[in-house]
Symmetry: C2
């Protein structure tokens, strides 16, 4: 076994950033360049910009009409009109035309009567300078138009040009080199084999750099070879302003980056008390910041946000693009360690005016949790966790408006929820659905705590054989309803061709089963079946192994990581598995009666009744939906 450098330091986040930014500021400075104003969108001014010309450039007519000498109009009234002669007393002007001496007022076209060609009559005298835009009314030559460090908007470009400014000194975009490393890393265009990891972080970084106003230069993946990585970094520090080395930042056998950076320059920090994202390297090589980021997508993202972004904000003067922060009630207890600051991705929903944050998967590898997240809440390093119901601050990725227009579903997972999430904003602009998967019972509990508008459930009452209604009646005091969802086929997913011959629950004995998590309707169904068959859980190998969605379970079977699992037909079909039907169940939506007439709920029911919905369900397979979208009171 190769020796490993097991222990990283874990410097607190703020301390790590402060120490590092101090060092970066010692060696780097903002650079500037001159560019044409017309290319200036979203660039940042170096210095205050002063107008070269006035606008208007001359005294200009503010109206279509005639320019007159005010003094010659004095005394005009309805009973005593004054007649003016063209060329002598007035000239015709359009809006924007220059007003030249001796003319000093404009009368609007609406207020003059043409008596004969070249003569007009007016019924009211003109005040000197009326309807004239004086030179410099808008912009005066020499006046400051934009201050330093101003991010240029479309309107600024218009005004700069009007004021005669053609070129502009702006902050030069930081040039950022991005080096993916790793022998197991393959390009997204390759067909992956077992052990391969598709390289996607560099593309994420590239676009994050772009969003922050930098110029990204992405390089091909370097294999895990000390000398190759060293020579690439060594070249890059001469050519670029910031260097990102991705993966290899940990302390594993092939994590060379830190040693290379120690050899080439100075490692300021290795390891930060942050979760996910701990194995960050913050270094300076030949006067350039070099940042090593971890390979897990979420760690990579959080590492970038915390350490690359501040460096780019300094170099690009972009201010870091702060996000809006709202207060929300956390929907479940979060335990965290005193050892690190943790970034928890959350779904945010608004129910009865209460904003609720529901934590998503916390793993460093859970990139989809970043895609699904509405924002994240931070558990500080000195905090052991947050109790359910506590108020937390959430940094939002989305507009508050979108949060307010989102129907919140918490409960059992089904693929049809994805279909709904797709159809709602597509058919009804600005209406959204968010669903969080915690199982049927978890969903009803969330509904009770007013953290969701409805709970998708499929709960078999063992006494009556009926689905859902009895559970809801038992748990809620307030008037409740059930919106009918779908009948769906549950059964055993087994490998293509069913090589182990699993045709019933009894056949599971001796094979590798995967279960669903506690509280999931499918698990309750499984327990019910076991009980009626007189099989004990301990007889089922893998009873304790849990997957949290039908699809995740199907993936385990497809990859031969398990032999069978109970789940829905659509998931089996999607993953190309064989399916042994066990029964049909009712998958419905529990909802307080008072929410039934919310516009979002009405839209939801309309979609459930639509032909498009039926078509999409047929595509998925394993569903019947005759009653979809109707509801009955409990």
């Amino acid at each position: 076994m190769t020796k490993r450098n097991l222990y990283l330091n874990t410097t607190p986040v703020d301390e790590a950033l402060n120490i590092y930014m101090e060092e970066v500021k010692k060696v780097m400075d903002v650079k500037y360049e001159q560019i044409p104003v017309v290319d200036g969108l979203h660039r940042v001014t170096k210095e205050a910009v002063y107008a070269k010309y006035c606008s208007p450039l001359f005294n200009a007519s503010a109206m279509d009409g005639i320019a007159v000498i005010a003094e010659r109009t004095y005394g005009a009234t309805e009973v005593n009109p004054v007649e003016l002669i063209e060329g002598e007393d007035f000239v015709v002007v359009d809006t924007g035309d220059p007003i030249r001496h001796p003319f000093n007022a404009v009368i609007m076209a609406e207020d003059i009567m043409e008596t004969e060609s070249g003569k007009v009559r007016i019924l009211c005298s003109a005040n000197p300078w009326q309807h004239i835009r004086p030179i410099g009314e808008d912009i005066v030559a020499g006046e400051m138009i934009l201050p330093s460090s101003h991010k240029i908007r479309p309107i600024d470009i218009g005004v700069l040009l009007s004021a005669g400014i053609l070129d502009l000194n702006v902050v030069k975009r930081a040039e950022v080199a991005i080096f993916p490393t790793g022998t197991e890393i393959i390009e997204p265009s390759s067909v992956p084999q077992e052990g391969d990891i598709i390289e996607s972080n560099s593309r994420m970084f590239e676009n994050m750099v772009t969003v922050l106003g930098g110029m990204a230069h992405r390089f091909p993946t370097i294999e895990d070879d000390y000398d190759k990585i060293k020579s690439k970094i060594s070249e890059a520090v001469d050519l670029y302003d910031v260097i990102i080395v991705n993966a290899g930042s940990s302390a594993g056998r092939e994590d060379y980056t830190v040693d290379i950076l120690r050899e080439l320059g100075q490692v300021i920090v290795h390891g930060v008390a942050i979760k996910p994202g701990k194995p960050v390297i913050l270094a300076i090589v030949k006067g350039k910041p070099v940042i090593g980021l971890p390979g897990y997508p979420v760690s990579a993202y959080i590492g970038f946000e915390n350490f690359v972004k501040p460096v780019l904000a300094m170099l690009n003067e972009t201010g870091g693009g702060s996000r809006s922060v709202i207060e929300a009630v956390i929907s479940k207890r979060l335990v965290s360690s005193l050892k690190h600051k943790e970034y928890v991705r959350v779904k945010v929903g608004q129910v009865e005016g209460k904003v609720v944050a529901a934590p998503l998967a916390r793993g460093a590898g859970a990139a989809m949790s970043l895609v699904r997240a509405d924002g994240f809440c931070v558990i500080e390093q000195n905090c052991e966790g947050i109790e359910a119901g506590e108020t937390v601050k959430v940094e939002l990725y989305k507009d508050r408006e979108e949060i307010d227009n989102t129907l919140v579903l918490i409960g059992s997972h089904d693929l049809i929820l994805d279909v709904m999430a797709d159809m709602m904003p597509n058919l009804y602009r600005k209406k959204h659905v968010s669903s969080t998967h915690v199982g049927s019972m978890g969903g009803l509990m969330a509904l009770k705590r007013k953290e969701a508008h409805m709970a998708p459930i499929h709960l078999l009452d063992e006494q009556t054989g009926e689905y859902n209604a009895s559970y809801v009646r038992r748990l809620f005091k307030e008037p409740m309803a059930l919106i009918k969802g779908v009948q769906r086929v549950q059964g055993l997913m087994v490998k293509k061709g069913n090589p182990l011959g699993i045709y019933s629950i009894e056949d599971l004995i001796g094979h590798r089963y995967v279960n669903r998590q506690r509280g999931a309707g499918t698990r309750i169904l499984f327990d019910y079946k076991l009980k009626t068959l007189g099989i004990r859980p301990e007889d089922i190998s893998g009873y304790d192994r849990e997957a949290t969605t039908h699809m995740a379970l199907a993936a385990l079977i497809q990859s031969d990581s398990a032999d069978a699992g109970l789940g829905i037909q659509s998931a089996a079909k999607a993953m190309g598995l064989d399916f042994v039907e066990i029964g049909v169940e009712e998958y419905d939506f529990a909802i307080p009666v008072k929410y039934l007439d919310l516009p979002l709920v009405e839209t939801f029911m309309a979609i459930l009744k639509s032909d498009e919905w039926k078509r999409r369900l047929e595509e998925l397979g394993g569903y019947a939906c005759e009653q979809s979208g109707t509801y009955y009171l409990l």
Copy 2:
């Protein structure tokens, strides 16, 4: 005189937009195209995107350590360690390595002891599947990654690539042709002559289109020639999705656009009840939206925001980029007409938790008011106006955070306020100064109403000859202070070389004077001088002609639109005028004592005391600043 088509219709804004969008939807539809995922930033998905591969692609180690067969570790404790043999009981794995059958658990490197080469000892048993990321834990093949109509972010690109997606169907960017028109229009690179207008709107539109996700195609200016404009529009509708014709949308002599559009297609609306921006043309030509926008920059901007933006939002599925809206108290009475909906640009400040909106210049030509604005408030068509102190809704251009970190100055104008506005954010990131110019007395009134943190004033007490203090004492009951600003030289600005020989106030008689607005300290000084000299206002020609800033006044003299005016030396210097000193005055900042220890105020005083401040004032000329930044209590 050529005949004019004087009267436009004035359709209410919402009605005009609804009618027009109905027509646009009849003829246009969203277009799609396939692009590589790596080019997808900020594009909008056509349809839901499903994963092609799982992530992880295989059961993978979540830790650096060893992969073991869990069953062989059972029973291990500190007193009864279990020894494992490499190759047989375990293999060494790094994070991300595949875990292959029969291995089914990972033990962390920290928890093993190497006894001899190829052997390790463990003190604790491993649970099956511990520290293993199951296949599909993050993304399951077939799972929906992104819904329809989703705007792609950097993280989405990462996840799409991880899931094996290389190409993507997205909304095609609308191609927008922009035609400036007008014989008086010149390119920004030309040197303007009297009567010329620098063409800058097309560059503003170009960038607004870019921001909204469209592709802008800007064409050279077309002169006011019916046939030329007609042929260009005629060609453009075959090639582009949306056509903007700028200026010529009114009813003046050379405003051909509406006739051309009537000839080529259908004019749906001509004239909208909006201010600024009334002469808008909304047309359809050969199935393409053609929009005529007015020439005044503010009208052009508001016309674009109200009519082009919704068309682009529909075609690009960008949702229109809604702005955040806050409630603010309006600082002065706004009278509006029932005839139109008015967009009033405002500066927004926060004083003692109260958010105040101060209206800026309302003219259609006041493009700088758009640059200076923090947002705008809308006076609806059915509303005659808003009383001072009423609460209004303001659409913000800026972050709320920036508003909260802005020191609000309302009062007398001086060029040093621009210098301060430039230095503050430059020296102290995220701190800003906003100044509104309403004259010294207006500033004190605003301060009383708690609409500003301080008021820049220069008010001569005719009794004592002292500046500022007596006015503040008289007006305020609460404890007040004066922060010393500058001594500045006031005098008569006259043309270069003083051709009219104006060397004193008396010399003004018989020449064209320009005054400052009522309440301005400079006007009070002028009145005082007149009184002491026994000159009546009516003896001064132009006494009633007002300019609202020193610079605007200087511009009128420089352009020979007036002969003289009272103002500060720095403005005369900036505009290359001669200057006849009349006196030195004290320009100070009145402030309630309770604001003195606000961090923004402390920063302000620190800048006033800085060497950089002194250097910048020397550059401007006409200032002394020995006491700058000190304060005394009144």
